[in-house]
Symmetry: C2
Subunit: 463 residues, 2 copies
Amino acid sequence: MSTVALLRPRAAQDLPARLARSAAATGHGHQMRTEDVTGWLAERARAHRFTVRRAPLDRLDGWSFAPGTGDLVHSSGRFFSVRGLDVTLDEGPHRHWQQPVIHQPEVGILGMLAKEFDGVLHFLLQAKMEPGNPNLLQLSPTVQATRSNYQRVHEGAAVSYLEHFTDPARGRVLADSLQSEHGSWFYRKSNRNMLVEATDAHVPCQAGFRWLTLGQIGELLRLDNVVNMDSRTVLSCFPMSAPEPGALHSDTELLSWFTAERARHDVDARLMALGRVDGWTRDADGIGRIDGRFFRVTGVTVEAGNREVTGWSQPLIEPCGTGVAAFVFRRIGGVPHILVHAKTEAGHLDTIELAPTVQCVPANWAPERAEDRPPFLDLVLTAAEGHGAHYATVHSEEGGRFLNARIRYLFVPADEDEAPVDAPPGYHWATAGQLNSLTAHGHYVNVQARTLLACLNSGAVRL
Amino acid sequence: MSTVALLRPRAAQDLPARLARSAAATGHGHQMRTEDVTGWLAERARAHRFTVRRAPLDRLDGWSFAPGTGDLVHSSGRFFSVRGLDVTLDEGPHRHWQQPVIHQPEVGILGMLAKEFDGVLHFLLQAKMEPGNPNLLQLSPTVQATRSNYQRVHEGAAVSYLEHFTDPARGRVLADSLQSEHGSWFYRKSNRNMLVEATDAHVPCQAGFRWLTLGQIGELLRLDNVVNMDSRTVLSCFPMSAPEPGALHSDTELLSWFTAERARHDVDARLMALGRVDGWTRDADGIGRIDGRFFRVTGVTVEAGNREVTGWSQPLIEPCGTGVAAFVFRRIGGVPHILVHAKTEAGHLDTIELAPTVQCVPANWAPERAEDRPPFLDLVLTAAEGHGAHYATVHSEEGGRFLNARIRYLFVPADEDEAPVDAPPGYHWATAGQLNSLTAHGHYVNVQARTLLACLNSGAVRL
């Protein structure tokens, strides 16, 4: 048997150009105009009855505090649990603490289906209700499924389009990597981020789904709370391979700096009994810190018509205040560079990941001593107040686990005085192309940085 | 300030050619002939007094069994400890067991210094004694240092050439990634694998060190027990970028298969008290399984002249029998492909890594039912006995932690009947270039597969 016909190129040479063409396609796509998307979302919201009500943690159907540990668990043993986490770091102003954390050791699928119409790649997005979203309904990827979800623990309806991702050989995989979720709220959670091009002649567009170009998604990313977090993280993994004439640091130097940062940090994070977590108390409204900072664990009951099941209860994590996630950027040799931060987050699998220059909830830092405030925070807040940012949009984080978790995402220009080429320890300059190439692999770029990268990939912001 | 001069290319275009030139330089290098290296090693062994004696675990100076847990620990709290591990897998013939494991949460440096002589890259190797090596003295990388080591917990001599790796900006970093160690014997251990080119005009060659070309190292890799494991893993990370006309699976398909394998596995491995590990007993000779399989924890006392300190005691893990690690390979469309295995190992940070087609100690599998024997094991053993392998050399694993841990490394050719293009579940065909490119990142390629990759990178074997 001759096997020559089995060989294929190691990389699809035309893919970056095809993605760039889709990113340039704004205003309207094959199926609808961008300006009609929010109206369509509003219509979907009217057509389906969604009711989300707060509920005490001890009155959530199917959930209970486990005897002995006080962990908040589901009677099926599936979905997720809220447990305790004991954290010891080797540097920073706070080196030891305990907190509640979401434990969900299974890997979910976040999958975006792509298809070419009129020579331009379109992506299939879904109008999806999630109870924690401030506006409930946002644009999700084609498929957003926990393993429980697609193994039918809900015993609800099948997940639409799932077969394109569980059997990717029926199409063409364009990206597929395990990416981390929020390291402050999840214990070692990652999801499979997939971009799959359908090669079927016809892919039916079900109710509640729409084909949009990458450029249209970029336009929608300029609006608050429209493109959900799961869409944003998949978008960050699109293999854009933008040509760049060079960078301040070679790819190997960037990896070497990353390796040194990961090697020098010790993070000891251990699961513990939720009932024994120090500094947190449980009352009728949920579990919170005595000083009211960081977040609360709270509960909701949901009634919905178009979800996998018709009603359920669940705990959610509710942050105390709107966060900020900002990339400081500048041109170096004419090439835009962004300042990444090697950030330890207790829930990450392996010490550090690359985070935005600034990532915090400013209100959490107000009572602190000035010298403990995160670097570049004041530069970013000043730009946000004075309209000096190139991009400033509020997005919400995973509405299936977080309640009203809003973050203001920003790109803030800086000069040599504000952000020198010789970056401070723990910070490093990288090009957008360098950061994008790292999303082919897991555990390099954290979820907040990936939202900002999605804005670059889709053209929502140009530096 | 103009910043144009600060830009550099993202990748060093000439590096693959420079490495290929060094791999082609065989027979002799700038400093010595290949055939003289083993004589030089023997001379080093004669010149320095090394004595390694077995010793009972309760008579190791500075080591003791901790009260309560029975963990084997050093009085300094540093170096490493031997603890217990409780493992639950979701598939395979053995789904739950307990075992001793080495716990050493710090990241060490394995660093190879490179320098050009007469237009050809040479690498600085060291004749290094390690107590677990069957022949004690082997060729190590320039620097092989635990964090305790280079932070001087030993209070011994400084580590030679360390400054090239702790301050890589003084030279040029060619590779730098965190790579896993043995997943059956270590709990989540990784080391920083570094290749740094010295840009100093003159680098003094200290006694006990020699500059060798990559081709010379390849010649030495055809000999048993000469090039130590730490050298081999650094060699596997050399960025060779061999041009290949194509592959059976594109790079993205390979990553997608890897991601699916990692996502579908659940591995639950938890540290536990060594004293409570089930199925293992402690006697005068150490800690072993009741049925004598797998490995023992044993102890040695060392007297040496040229090590960081002049004498010490330590535990070592001693495997029961010589292992086998083999890549099955074949040409597909004229391009050599190797069959990689997505293997769960309990001590790995994240479920699976890519392993050789066959990796086991055959003696461990003899009493098993035939259907539980590892796939391809019989093909590999038949080739090994009948001289059908393209490469068959015994190397020893990390002599600082393992005693007489010999593995026979093999490349075994196969045809469509023996190893079909449509690989069985858990196996996948990859080119050498694809596997090599993954070593730029951590936790893709396990340490045994990296030894085989080192043989390809250095030209010890050609497929």
